[in-house]
């Protein structure tokens, strides 16, 4: 599967808008500026994606994952390096919180952050594309890249996926991660139709 230049431009632009809005949520709880990278779009086999992410991010990943459905469906995820997760929790719990308490609250807090950020991103996409996107409850997955990117073994490794990614980094430099969407190429048709309608609307 290939995307046309226009489809790629549209995907990047709406994702950029979604993550842009989500970055305001991150900045609000982190109380500092969040730097964003420009969006990337890749279409490849899931196995290749896993290999590439392992090569750049290491084989251990932590992610808050949220499946979404509606006119188009897929998996949204906020990935971060495992050692950064306590920093992320400390940001919302406050730096005076004892380490023990932080560890206890870690998964709850991470789910909550992921939920706010991904919902903010998806809500923005829904508004732009005039579509109602339903989200499932977020869950935390920690493990090797393959475990994280194939939750519940939903997608076979030889599956072609569209991978959208935007990195974020806190100004303080303590935390970096990225927001990404993995879309099954079999189910991307509806999204491409929504993008086409959006394009027709903005270019009419």
């Amino acid at each position: 599967m290939n995307l046309s230049e226009l489809q790629e431009d549209l995907l990047k632009e709406i994702f950029n808008m979604g993550v842009g809005h989500a970055s305001a949520s991150i900045a609000e709880f982190a109380q500092c500026e969040v730097e964003l990278t420009v969006p990337e779009v890749r279409i490849c086999e899931l196995s290749i994606l896993i290999k590439n992410i392992s090569a750049t991010e290491g084989n251990k990943l932590s992610a808050v994952i949220q499946a979404y459905s509606g006119p188009f469906e897929g998996t949204a995820m906020m990935l971060y390096s495992e050692d950064a997760s306590l920093d992320l929790v400390r940001l919302i719990m406050g730096s005076e919180t004892p380490l023990e308490q932080l560890s206890e609250m870690e998964s709850d807090a991470l789910c909550e952050i992921g939920n706010i950020v991904m919902n903010s991103c998806l809500a923005s996409l829904g508004t732009i594309l005039e579509a109602e996107i339903e989200t499932n409850l977020p869950e935390i997955i920690t493990g090797n890249t393959c475990d994280v990117l194939t939750p519940d073994g939903k997608l076979p490794l030889d599956k072609q996926v569209v991978f959208l990614r935007m990195g974020f980094k806190l100004e303080t430099g303590h935390l970096r991660g990225y927001l990404s969407f993995i879309l099954d190429t079999d189910k991307i048709r509806v999204l491409l139709d929504c993008l086409q309608r959006y394009y027709e609307k903005v270019s009419a």
Binding site: D9, E13, V19, G20, H21, A24, A27, V38
Partner: protein, 129 residues
Amino acid sequence: MQLVLAVDDSKVALLQIKKYIQKSYPNCEVITVTNPIEGIEIAKEKQAKLDMILLDFNMKEMNGLDTILQLENFFDLSKVAICSANTQKILIDKITNKGVLFIDKPLSQEKIDDMTASFKTRQIKGKAS
């Protein structure tokens, strides 16, 4: 409104900007570029002929704020706006403290019309003072 420069790495966003501006100002020429470095060169060349510059924020070669820092050496920043979905308060403050307008994406005809009206008011105020 006769000449506008729009800089955005998305061609779709540029198309939108051009459409909205020309709907309200049919005779306005809108120069569109996807690279901010090229945008700075055009701004240098056109200078005071430009009625307005619209910039995206998140661009590969240079972000919108760094582009502003280059533009301020030779261009009146009260004629510049940043259009972005990156609505972090800290960032918006940095932009508006430079005297640059901030418009949140997605864009609409109403937002572009409000922005051009605001530029006109600024120019009148500028001339009066």
